[in-house]
Amino acid sequence: MPGEVIDYSTAMVKVNEDGSVDCSTALMCHGGGTLEAGAKIVAEEMGVPLDKVEISPADTRSTGYDVCTHATRGVYCGGASLQKAAGSAKKILLEFASRLIEVNPDALKIRPDEEIGQGIVYLEGAKGKSITVGKVAKTAQFKGWGTAIAVESHRQVNCPPCFVTNFIEMEVDMETGQIRPVRAVAAVDAGTVINPDLAAGQLEGGLCRGIGLALLEDTDYDQETGELTCGGYLVDYKSFTAVDMPLVDDVSTFFAETYEPSGPLGAKGVGEAANNCTAGTVANAIYNAIGIRLKEAPITPEKVLTALKEKTQGERR
C-alpha cells in the first residue's frame, strides 16, 4: 500500500575503463556498515566483484539531496537509490556492449568473474559472445560514445517497520539494589540482512545503550540553580561499556528471514529499532525479579532500594 512518507536519496554510479565502479552517495557510516552495504548492493545489481566497487569520499558539493544515514533509512532508502543508479548505469553499459558483440542489449547479462577480477558481459548459452566490463567502458571511451554513468533519485513512500524483540535476564541484589544484566537475546526482522556481523553488532550496541537508558543515563538538574549536576562533563555522565554488559557468550542475536519488496534486495533497516524495546524489557525483568513496577528511568540502585523498603514497610502494615 503506498504511504505518505516523503523520503528520498540520490546516488551516482559510474563504470570505469578498468572494470571498477565508483559510487557517490551522501550516506555516511555511523559504524553500522551503511556504506559497505551500499557497495554490496551496487556489486550485486551491477554484477561485478565487490572489491571492484568503491564508495567515493563525498561532500555536499558532489552529492544530490539526501537526508543521509539516520533512523532505519540508510540501507532502505539510500541503498535503494544506489541500486537504482547502478541499474541505470548498467543499462547504458549493456547498450555499449551490444554494439561491440552485436547482441540485443536486453539479452545481455553481467556476472562477476573472480579469476579475471572483474565483471563479464555475456549472452546466456552463447560461447564467444562475451566481453569484460572494463573493455566495454574503455572502447566506449575512445570511440567517443560516453561514460556508463547514472545519477538517480529514489523516493521511498513507506518506511516499513523494523521489528526487534529483546529477552533480558536481570539480577537484582536485594541488599544493595544493584542491578546486573546477566543474559540477553536480541532478534530483528530487518528484511534481507546485508551485513550480518554488523547488523548483529547494531543489536548488541542497541542492547548496551538501552540497558544504559534503563539503569543509568540521566541528565539530572540542580533544583535550585538549574545547572546540570554532572556539570556538563562526560566524566560524570556515565554510560555502560563492555565491562558492564553480559559476557559475550551470554548475548545472542537472531535474524528473521524475511523479504521487504520495497527495499533494496529485500532489505529494511535496523537503526534505532535496536534499542526501542530494551529499556521496557529491562523494567519488565526487574518487575519479574522483585515484584515492583518501577516506571521512572533510570532505575538506579538507590531507587530500587527505596522501593524495596517501601514494599517491606507496606507489607508490615
Partner: protein, 297 residues
C-alpha cells in the same frame, strides 16, 4: 557554574621536568605556592581542563627514576611515582596484599592504570582515592621530603579534608611504606560504583588478624563516605579480641554505619551510602577472614 571548553588548556604555565628528588624539592621551595606536581596527570589534567586550578608552574616528576619502584624491604616500599599498573602487578603475586590489589583492580581501566601513579592517587587528596582504604588498614606510612628535611608520617594523618592533605606546598611525597604484615592476617577491598570505570560511591577495606575463631585485631577503612578516607575505629574495637560470629559482625556493621559521615553527590546519596556501608563491610570482612585462614573457617 561557567562551562569551559575542556578540549583545550587555556592556561599558561612554566613547565619543569626535574630528574632527581633534590631538584624537585628545590623547585618546590622556589615556586611551591603557585606550583602543581604532575605525574600521570589523570586527575590533574582534568582539573586543569575544567579550570578548577590554575597553577603558574607545573613540575613533571615522571622522569625521576628514583621515585619508581616496588620492593620488599622491611615490609613493602613503593615509590610515589610508581605507575598503578606496576603496583598492581606486584601485588597480584602475593595474597598478603589482597586488599591493595583489589583496590587497584577497581581503580580504573587500562588507561588510568597505565598513566596514573600511586602517589598521585593519594596526593590529590580525594575522599574516594581507591588506594587509601587498603593503605589505612595496613597501617602504612608515607615519606615526605622538602628542601630542609625528610619526615615519616602515619598515613592516617595524611588526609585533612576534601582535596587537602598534610603536605605543605614545598613538600614532595616520595615513598609509601607498608610495614611487615603479620602471619594470619587476611585483607580484602570492595568498591561500589556506577559503572566499571568510575569514581566510587563507597569503598571498604578490611585487614584482620585471626587466631582460630578469635579476631586478634582488625582494621576497617572506608572511602567516599566522609571528607577523608577514614578508619572506623569504634567498629574495630567491637571486634578486638572477640570470638567472631555472625551476630558480632552484624553489630560491627551497624557501628560502621554510625561512624561514617556521607553526603549526597552526583554519584549517590548519603542515605544509600549509609545503607550500603554495613552490607559492604560484612562482605569485605568475611572475605578477609577466610583469607586470614588461621583455623577452621
Amino acid at each position: 557554574m561557567m562551562m569551559v571548553n575542556t578540549r583545550i588548556l587555556t592556561q599558561e604555565f612554566d613547565y619543569f621536568v626535574p630528574k632527581t628528588i633534590r631538584e624537585t624539592v628545590e623547585l618546590l621551595n622556589q615556586y611551591g605556592q603557585e606550583a602543581k606536581i604532575i605525574a600521570g596527570g589523570t586527575d590533574l589534567l582534568v582539573q586543569l581542563k575544567q579550570e578548577k586550578i590554575s597553577p603558574s608552574y607545573l613540575i613533571n616528576i615522571m622522569k625521576i627514576s628514583e621515585l619508581s619502584y616496588v620492593k620488599e624491604d622491611g615490609g613493602l616500599r613503593i615509590g610515589s611515582g610508581t605507575k598503578l599498573r606496576d603496583v598492581l602487578e606486584f601485588c597480584a603475586k602475593d595474597e598478603k596484599y589482597a586488599s591493595l590489589y583489589e583496590a587497584l583492580r577497581s581503580l580504573g581501566k587500562a588507561q588510568v592504570l597505565n598513566m596514573g601513579t600511586i602517589g598521585g592517587n593519594l596526593c590529590n587528596g580525594s575522599p574516594s582515592a581507591d588506594t587509601a582504604p587498603p593503605l589505612l588498614v595496613f597501617d602504612s606510612r608515607v615519606k615526605i621530603c622538602s628542601d630542609q628535611e625528610e619526615k615519616i608520617l602515619d598515613f592516617e594523618e595524611f588526609f585533612k579534608g576534601v582535596n587537602i592533605t598534610a603536605m605543605a606546598s614545598n613538600e614532595l611525597m616520595t615513598e609509601i611504606h607498608i610495614p611487615p604484615i603479620k602471619n594470619g592476617t587476611g585483607s580484602a577491598f570492595v568498591k561500589i560504583a556506577r559503572v566499571g570505570a568510575d569514581i566510587s560511591k563507597i569503598t571498604c577495606a578490611v585487614a584482620v588478624e585471626r587466631h582460630r575463631d578469635i579476631c586478634a585485631s582488625c582494621r576497617i577503612a572506608l572511602g567516599a563516605v566522609a571528607p577523608v578516607p577514614m578508619r572506623a575505629k569504634a567498629a574495630e574495637r567491637t571486634l578486638q579480641g572477640n570470638k567472631v560470629d555472625e551476630p558480632l559482625i552484624e553489630k560491627t556493621g551497624q557501628r560502621v554505619a554510625e561512624e561514617i559521615k556521607p553526603i549526597d553527590d552526583v554519584r549517590s546519596t548519603a542515605e544509600y551510602r549509609r545503607h550500603l556501608s554495613p552490607i559492604l563491610f560484612k562482605d569485605v570482612f568475611w572475605k578477609a577472614w577466610r583469607r586470614a585462614g588461621g583455623g577452621e573457617g
